[in-house]
């Protein structure tokens, strides 16, 4: 049964149509990956789900609740967390203070914090450090941990491995797998195909603001030419 259903999103940047009938369904405990070339509309799709860009058509339902008319700040409270491209931490606040803000969104329990820190144990040693002074990998981990403090049913990850060292990428990948195993639905936007294959259950290819094709991860693994056809890369 689907946790989140997005149907027929249209969105515009000025006169340019950025999303055309964008629709996805996410089940609990699965990772759906959006792949596509630069400018295909992947990040825009996540912003439209979060309500930070205006949709001209479409609806979104989370656990049977229609969120379409809610203001943007109500979307995380409903249970959808967003980890944006470029991390976007509160650089002047410490690691602990960043996490406390996440906890206060839905008045989450201490258990949520323990769970988030369990995903990224390195943060435990950095609790009183200003988040702006963390390494790139640690900042990504903190952004994900802060999102997990919301105790979301769905998490939207926008290129979490961008610009990271291989060791940090492995940590992020491990965390995504654990999220999935714990029943969280993950919508993952990635440019790096090698980062997607080990964690995704399904793949949707986007181009010009719409989903052109959908495959299971096994279908993609068995026919890697799909990657070349839809995103112009080999695996």
């Amino acid at each position: 049964m689907s946790v989140m259903t997005v149907e027929g999103f249209d969105a515009f940047y000025g006169r340019s149509q950025a999303l055309r009938g964008f629709s996805v369904e996410l089940r609990g405990g699965e990772v759906l990956c959006l792949l596509g070339r630069n400018g295909a509309g992947k990040t825009t799709a996540l912003k439209a789900i979060m309500g930070t860009i205006r949709r001209t058509a479409g609806r979104i339902v989370l656990d049977g609740r229609d969120l379409s008319a809610l203001p943007a700040y109500e979307i995380p409270r409903a249970g959808i967390a967003h980890v944006p491209q470029g991390r976007r931490l509160f650089a002047e606040l410490t690691v602990a203070e960043n996490l406390e803000i996440g906890l206060s969104t839905r008045k989450s329990s201490r258990r949520a914090l323990d769970y988030a820190l369990g995903l990224f144990p390195v943060l435990t040693e950095r609790m009183h450090q200003r988040s702006g002074t963390l390494s790139g990998g640690e900042q990504t981990m903190l952004t994900m941990a802060r999102a997990m403090c919301i105790e979301p049913a769905v998490i939207l990850l926008d290129e979490p491995t961008e610009g990271l060292m291989p060791s940090a990428i492995a940590g992020i990948r491990e965390a995504v797998i654990r999220l999935r195993d714990n029943g969280v639905a993950v919508l993952l936007v990635e440019q790096r195909v090698d980062a997607v294959l080990p964690v995704a259950d399904r793949v949707a290819f986007m181009d010009h603001g719409e989903i052109k094709a959908r495959f299971t991860i096994d279908e993609v693994r068995n026919d890697l030419s799909l990657l070349h056809r839809y995103v112009g890369v080999g695996a």
């Binding site: 979307i75 944006p84 002047e92 803000i101």
Partner: protein
């Protein structure tokens, strides 16, 4: 109850203790100067909560200071209202005006917000001149000496006494300081800083940033109103000069020099600036040129204000 940032709390208590002891060692003139610094520091602390912690640069805060000044002063002057009640009316005056102005001004951001707040403040200033038959305009109004003595819980208070004025100013400064400590070092303060650091991300974490900013604006206005009411009642004079643009710039300078986003920065900034102007104006009529040069020097050495730079370089808990 656990106290967050215990080191900063301890420092606040030390500063309050030193200020209390100052009245026993300083001359009457300096006690009077310190009284004025404490009241203006309250104004700067209110401004700092908005500008330093929440990142909203208002160019019209003199309007809220003047709202408190006039609300309290006129209530006393025309209505014969006792000073404690007039003081509360002054706080409400600043807070209510800030709430109403905030409802409109906070629909804008950055430069537009600065211009809108400046515009409202200029309207307020011109209104004080236009209705000069009530406000006294430029000439102002002097509160009757007889009304400056009152009884509070059976205690006779005489505001013509410099020591009484100093201790009342210090008490209210302490109340505002500890109150702002609780706000800025707690969950609400974290949200204010989050709004300053990244307003879109704060919204994406599930917070209505308009309401958060309106709350900060209203609290800031109420504190500015408190300072204005205190100033007017304490020194027995209300006038439109307090609503001038210059007052908005002064409180901005006090905050910038002391360190925006630091709890004690406004006290340091107000003290440094006030004493600097006081001393230099006695030496040369061109004192503003000297003050300008000194401000440039301070800015070079302390780009984030005195305490802001100390915090960033050596003392991270000084926030």
């Amino acid at each position: 109850m656990t106290i967050p940032n215990k080191k900063l709390f301890a420092l606040c208590l030390v500063v309050l203790a030193l200020l209390f002891m100052a009245q026993f060692v300083l001359s009457n003139y300096l006690v009077l100067a310190l009284t004025r610094i404490l009241i203006l520091a309250i104004f700067a602390m209110g401004y700092n909560m908005l500008m330093g912690y929440t990142g909203l640069l208002s160019l019209g805060h003199a309007m809220f200071f003047a709202a408190g000044l006039y609300a309290a002063g006129l209530a006393n002057y025309y209505g014969g209202v006792s000073l404690p009640i007039a003081f509360v009316i002054g706080i409400l005056g600043g807070g209510v005006l800030a709430f109403v102005i905030g409802l409109l001004a906070l629909r804008t951001q950055t430069v537009s917000f600065m211009i809108v707040t400046l515009m409202f403040a200029q309207v307020a200033y011109l209104l004080t001149l236009y209705f000069s038959n009530v406000t006294g305009g430029d000439q102002g109004l002097t509160l009757p000496t007889a009304s400056r003595s009152f009884s509070l819980f059976g205690l006779a208070v005489d505001l013509t006494s410099p020591m009484v004025r100093f201790n009342i100013a210090l008490t209210l400064f302490a109340v505002v300081l500890i109150g702002l400590f609780a706000v800025t070092q707690g969950p609400l303060g974290r949200l204010f800083v989050a709004v300053r650091e990244n307003i879109n991300r704060t919204e994406m974490l599930g917070f209505d940033t308009y309401r958060i900013r309106l709350l900060a604006f209203t609290i800031s206005g109420a504190i500015s109103g408190l300072a204005g009411a205190l100033y007017g009642l304490m020194f027995g004079f209300i006038g439109s000069s307090f609503a001038e643009f210059r007052s908005s710039i002064e409180v901005l300078l006090f905050t910038l020099v002391g360190g925006p986003g630091t709890l004690l920065g406004p006290l340091v900034g107000t003290g440094v600036m006030t004493m600097l102007i006081d001393r230099l104006s006695g030496m040369t009529s061109a004192y503003l040129i000297v003050v300008g040069v000194l401000l440039i020097v301070i800015n070079l050495w302390f780009p984030k204000g005195i305490l802001g730079t100390i915090r960033d370089r050596w003392v991270p808990w000084l926030k």
